[in-house]
Symmetry: C2
Subunit: 595 residues, 2 copies
């Protein structure tokens, strides 16, 4: 008996686990396998950007990760003075104004993975198999375009028992790391080079009189460069150039020991004393900066994370980019399978993520160069650092036009929301629940459940005409895009909350179920009693009377921004996602009703 699986995820690192978590609450047959015996406990990546916290918020574990993390609040630079003695030369707030929250927190990758695994277990939608690796792969090309088929045959081996099983699979997500077995099977090449720059990295509980040990610090001394990142408990992550920053050196990475790395740090940070109370983890590496030439195969196998891009860990982007890869393909597969949507949706994965990987490598090359150069001026370093701060927020990423990003002019902000651009991620903002007055942050509300959202910026509902306009829209939604269409409607009005009566709004905006009305779909852009005002209309540049529609993808990116009378365009957008007859060879039902 061959088991049939909708989605098989290979590799339970940050990318694979994020993809897996996209299926929480789904009835699809999804499985994640990894050859390791369980989540990692120490080491590897640790930087978690606010954009990643928002992803984790949508998975329900952002608060848990945030509260265990060490927040990064400032960065200090140290440089040699005229006598060659290191001196603190600058303190930079780690603050990007428009985020309105910390840009970065740090927590061990192992702990983040652990929380993701706990979340999978809590929901019970995805089966997890440790000690398991793929050993055989075959794709039946003749069936690759049939959405009902299981064209992939894959063999999995249990490493402990040696027992092999064969699965018939619709889709594979490959997050099996820099040495990806899947990538090799598919003959996909990495392009780029392995630099000669040799680095040591270690997690240390330091005993030191260096005064900035709990900040991010970059010490440029005449003896080389060390970067430190404060971590949970008393731990500090150290990055040290083992060759004095030269990109061309003969140091063999395999000859490096933890003692070498600590010694190098001691020399750079002198005259401050530095001793290791504990070293829970360490490693050494030559930075490879490479991107895969393809990110997918036949829209059936999708590679994510380190399997398709490797770079230096210096900007703390490894876990973040991987997590976004997994998030991007995760919702697309779920939507495709649950909503019987067009398989064209899946082709947007490489179109969206490959340029991001390439941009990261380009950024990383320049950034690493900055770290490696010994002749860099203070100003040059500062400029590069601040550019890095902005780059790593992810708010500059814009996905290109496709069936899920549609606008009149993607080159500029929307005239309807003058501070937003289609293809860019919606910023996190605070809204106040109409029914109970509780303030909520957007990404806590945008639960990762496979649904698109239409945010209806309804304008000022204390104005009778605006309320009528909204309720006419309610009739339209009921007729053309009911709750069963794989989408959720969230209404955000610009009135004072007390001037709006929940029950005056059309039931389309507060759907009925066997548990009564849904009280978590109508929000005010208003002051809260304890947490201030989100000023959402202002932050997005939306007119408080006119309002607009914002169609938001399950991953929080803006699909399209339309005026409240452009219902035809909204309908066309969702029609464009449906499976076409020619592709599947079957009759197309409009949208599969959600169970």
């Amino acid at each position: 008996m061959v088991k049939h699986i909708d989605v098989l995820i290979v590799g339970a690192g940050p990318a694979g686990l994020t993809a897996a978590n996209c299926f929480n609450g789904s009835d699809l047959a999804v499985r994640i396998v990894d050859k390791k015996p369980g989540p990692d406990h120490v080491g590897k990546a640790d930087g978690i950007k606010s954009i990643s916290i928002e992803v984790l918020d949508s998975l329900g574990i952002g608060d848990a990760v945030f509260s265990e993390s060490q927040r990064v609040e400032e960065i200090v630079l140290w440089n040699p003075d005229e006598n060659g003695t290191i001196q603190r030369t600058m303190t930079i707030p780690d603050r990007v104004e428009e985020l309105m929250k910390p840009r970065e927190v740090c927590l061990d990758q192992g702990r983040v993975e652990g929380l993701m695994v706990e979340n999978l277990n809590k929901h019970g939608s995805v089966q997890i198999s440790w000690n398991t690796q793929p050993v055989g792969l075959k794709i039946d090309k003749s069936q690759k375009d049939d959405s009902a088929a299981y064209p992939i045959t894959i063999s999995l081996e249990n490493i402990n028992t040696g027992i092999t099983e064969t699965l018939a699979v619709k889709y594979i997500v490959g997050g099996d790391g820099a040495h990806s077995w899947l990538r090799k099977q598919l003959g996909i090449k990495l392009t780029g080079d392995l630099t000669d720059s040799t680095w040591g990295v270690l997690n240390m509980v330091p005993k030191t009189d260096f005064p900035d040990i709990r900040k991010v610090f970059v010490v440029h001394s005449v003896n080389g460069t060390v970067m430190g990142v404060p971590r949970e408990s008393k731990m500090v992550r150290f990055y040290i150039s083992m060759d004095g920053g030269s990109r061309h050196t003969s140091i063999n990475v395999k000859d490096i020991t933890a003692e070498n790395i600590i010694e190098a740090a001691q020399i750079i940070m002198a005259p401050y004393k530095l001793e290791a109370a504990r070293v829970p983890w360490w490693s050494s590496y030559c930075v490879g900066q490479r991107v895969a030439d393809r990110f997918s195969q036949d829209e059936r196998v999708f590679l994510v994370g380190d399997a398709v891009h490797t770079h230096s860990p210096k900007a703390g982007q490894g876990m973040n980019t991987s997590l976004q890869d997994g998030y991007n393909i995760g919702w697309k597969l779920r939507y495709c399978l649950e909503q019987n949507a067009s398989r064209d949706l899946l082709s947007t994965y490489p179109i969206e993520r490959k340029p991001v990987a390439q941009a990261l490598i380009d950024f990383d090359r320049e950034y690493l160069e900055t770290f490696a150069r010994s002749d860099i001026t203070h100003e040059e370093f500062l400029e590069a650092y601040l550019a890095g701060q902005r780059f790593t927020t992810g708010t500059q990423i814009q996905y290109p036009e496709s069936l899920i990003v549609k606008g009149n002019n993607l080159e500029s902000t929307s005239p309807l929301a003058t501070r937003l651009v289609e293809g860019v991620r919606l910023p996190d903002f605070q809204i106040v629940n109409q029914s109970d007055g509780v303030p909520v942050k957007l990404y806590h509300r945008l639960t990762c459940d496979g649904r698109f959202r239409i945010l209806v910026f309804a304008g000022n509902l204390s104005n009778g005409a605006s309320l009528s306009r909204l309720n006419i829209l309610g009739d339209w939604f009921e007729k053309y895009l009911p709750a069963s269409s794989g989408l959720e409607i969230l209404t955000i009005h610009s009135s004072k909350r007390e001037e709006v009566e929940l029950m005056d709004l059309h039931p389309s905006f507060r759907p009925w179920s066997e548990d009564g009305w849904d009280y978590w779909t109508i929000y005010a852009d208003d002051n809260s009693y304890h947490d201030g005002h989100g000023k959402v209309y202002e932050r997005c540049g939306i007119d408080k009377e006119e309002g607009c529609f914002i169609v938001v993808r399950p991953d929080g990116y803006i699909s399209t921004i339309r005026s409240l009378n452009q219902t035809t365009e909204i309908l066309e957008f969702f029609s464009g996602l449906r499976e076409s007859k020619t592709q599947s060879g079957q009759a197309t039902e409009s949208f599969r009703t959600r169970l």
Copy 2:
């Protein structure tokens, strides 16, 4: 072989579990037993006041409880109009200005207990035995004053197996509920009366068009009174007077069914429709308003929670008062045992908690009267409700003078901190860590670890004279009150954070250990990068140059406020806590060194 136990806690409800959690991280032999098979899953109390969240913060689980809870943001009153039809007559923000955060959140008592049990398991310091009840108790009075003795002999029976074991115990905390076995064994009487007012209470997932179902609502109709409290998920807690609010009725509480209660609510809330999608829990009761005549026996057995006070659940005070009882005796027992402190400390438990219980009963009597009266005016009800809001914050509680509350004049605020009073709880406020710039809320920092804290409000350290004054104090602390004295020193200065160098402060304020310096003891009352300014000096009324000492008990109450040159008084305070020779019959070592 008789097992020796330092502290036995009987009853794993909110009071007992809070007491148990006070021993996390301790090496003492502590055990908690309950006759039930595990934590409750539904029902009972659900209101959690901000003061309780602060207690949970100090136990490390406040954020988890808060994030699962339903926040209460406003209360609505409904009254009959001239035609007898109910109308919304007022919306009151549930906001007490000085708290600067929500006054109340709601979560099932079972879930709160569950998180407390998980926390005990995580720390592993306290042994938990379910299905276990006491069946025999004996106190050897001749040994009761010997702090080294185990004067209590108690037999515990496993309900499932019938197996009995006998323990020799130093102290017992009795949180075994309204029908307390321990209270009866000790011959302690409850004083007060069982009212005749009959109430139904149920948790319901309602299907209704009543527009305020997600707020706290009080509907006074010509047919009686219903109060509703929004809960996690779609649940609502209903309280309904089953006798039209009369205090003298012949309705037998045992005859009441869930259907009766729902029907009563339907009649009161008409013309709005109300149906129950689900009723996970319900109960009926006559309100008993009673206080035990004694709260302890020989300073060896201490009763907490429902065992010593019962009242109506209307003000949501049940879980909160119980939790504070457990917290109060928990730290005192730990301090007494770990620090070899005077047993006089334990006599403060009834002195502090009995008046609080009595005040609660008095308040409850008046409050319930308000609910029960059908002739009450709108204004009278509102006034009573707002008084209740203030009362339940707990910020008005002042413990009387004792060896742990000492002041020159407890009748008024301190001249050194003109907005604080000795014996009152320190408000929660935000401080910014000097070492890393991370803002922290006070009660997240005041981990419940059995230690007193001396908050050193050091003034403006950018002023050389103030820094010198502080460092002279550092020498004094090193000599007279080292870190091994069962206390922790936290420094809060009023300077700009960037004007202070961490390493310029005396090591007494940043103690050294085998893991290096402690970086979580020196804080600035300054702006943070992402979370504003705590304005602590201003909120406490402390002069930004003069500063002061505030000695804070392990439960957050202010012991004493002293000027920075009153070191003699500080020393006397801690000397007063030591065990005297006459009491124990043994030689007194100053303070036992913490391991």
